[in-house]
Amino acid sequence: MTAFSPKITAVAIGLIGGFWLAGVALASDTAATKLAHDVCAGCHGVDGNSVVPNFPKLAGQQKVYLLRELKDYRSGKRVSDIMAPFVAGLGDDDLEQLAAYYAKQTPAPGVVNNPGLLAVGKSLYLNGNSANDVPSCESCHETDGSGSGKFPRVAGQHSEYALDQFRLYATGKRTNGARVMKAVAERMTEAETRAVAEYMASMP
């Protein structure tokens, strides 16, 4: 039997889910929970603690941020072939309840792949690098990485996902939420993004 990559599986789930959702309206909190458990869990884990490094962890994420991302996926402002069909049929209330569901889940600790990068990552996270005018991360994402409002939680996030986002911002492919992050990601070296991603993953 052919083994499918997580990405292909996710796209398949996405397409099926998209068809299914197009005719479903979620009316209540329970329905949002059911959706999270039955559909989103496939990639993001039942409680939002995804175990696949390319899919973001959502547990404990800022509600304001989650809601903005969900709406941007729906409008196409944040481009994802995987996410677009899932959110296409959902209304504002549904998205709001999904965001609330994930925001109240307890985040699980992240995975550190390369402990040797943590010291450099921590210094960048807390102080930035004035040599290439990279601001500190903590000013917006908070010292403990918990984020605030539209600034997402980064603590415990998969480093692979974080690295993908740095690259998407730097190359102009992620245009939502890019107001600050585009300039930051453009200035960071590849080594710096790796170090910061490791440090963020290490934060409890």
């Binding site: 397409l15 068809f19 197009a22 196409g76 296409a88 004035s130 991360c137 890019a178 585009k182 300039a183």
Partner: protein, 235 residues
Amino acid sequence: MKLSPRFTTLAALLIASFGASAAPADSQQQPRAAGIETYGYTWNSPDQDMNRALAHRADPGKGEAAYKVCKGCHKADGAGLADAEYPQLAGQHANVIIKQMMDIRAGRRDNPRMYPFAGEWIVSAEEIADIAVYLQKLPIPAGNGKGNGYHLSRGKALYDKDCASCHGNAGEGDAANFYPMVAGQHFSYLKRETRESRDHGRRNASPEMVKVLKGYSDADVDAVSDYMSRLKAGR
């Protein structure tokens, strides 16, 4: 073949999302506006963005929230960073911060390093006013960067002769006239900005000040910058 409406909708959505991916990213290149190099330049001439900020009833609480993005470089206490020539902002006159921000936004003051964090996609004119009043109220941190201290008497003589009439005897500046407080500013920043003003690189500089600086050697600029960095106004 006949496609179901549902399939057509999904296909349209997929096409739409591919289309969106081809859209160019917002440009964060700083524009260039006429400055001191231009005939007929008037220093501090009214600007719509600036008037909006000045007319706004500023709220320091909102300013603290909006300052989040700024503090990645200028630090939570507004101290900036001497080595990086990031200016100290705590205690600076709100009017001065508003004017300089608007000059950077409009492209009268060249600052490509800061511009991506100063555009209207980051802060509105009203938020700039909020931030400015928040910073104005912050206590001035001790321990700003200073020069080598070798030529302070020369620095004082130059300052008293040429600078004090606008920037004040103790470096307090003049809020009503948009003259910055220079006391307690980092030596590295004062030196850079003074040299750039002299050499027409700071294009939003006051022509009066440029005229004063015309005869200054680099050593003169260093001496007066060192002296200003040690002034105590506001403390």
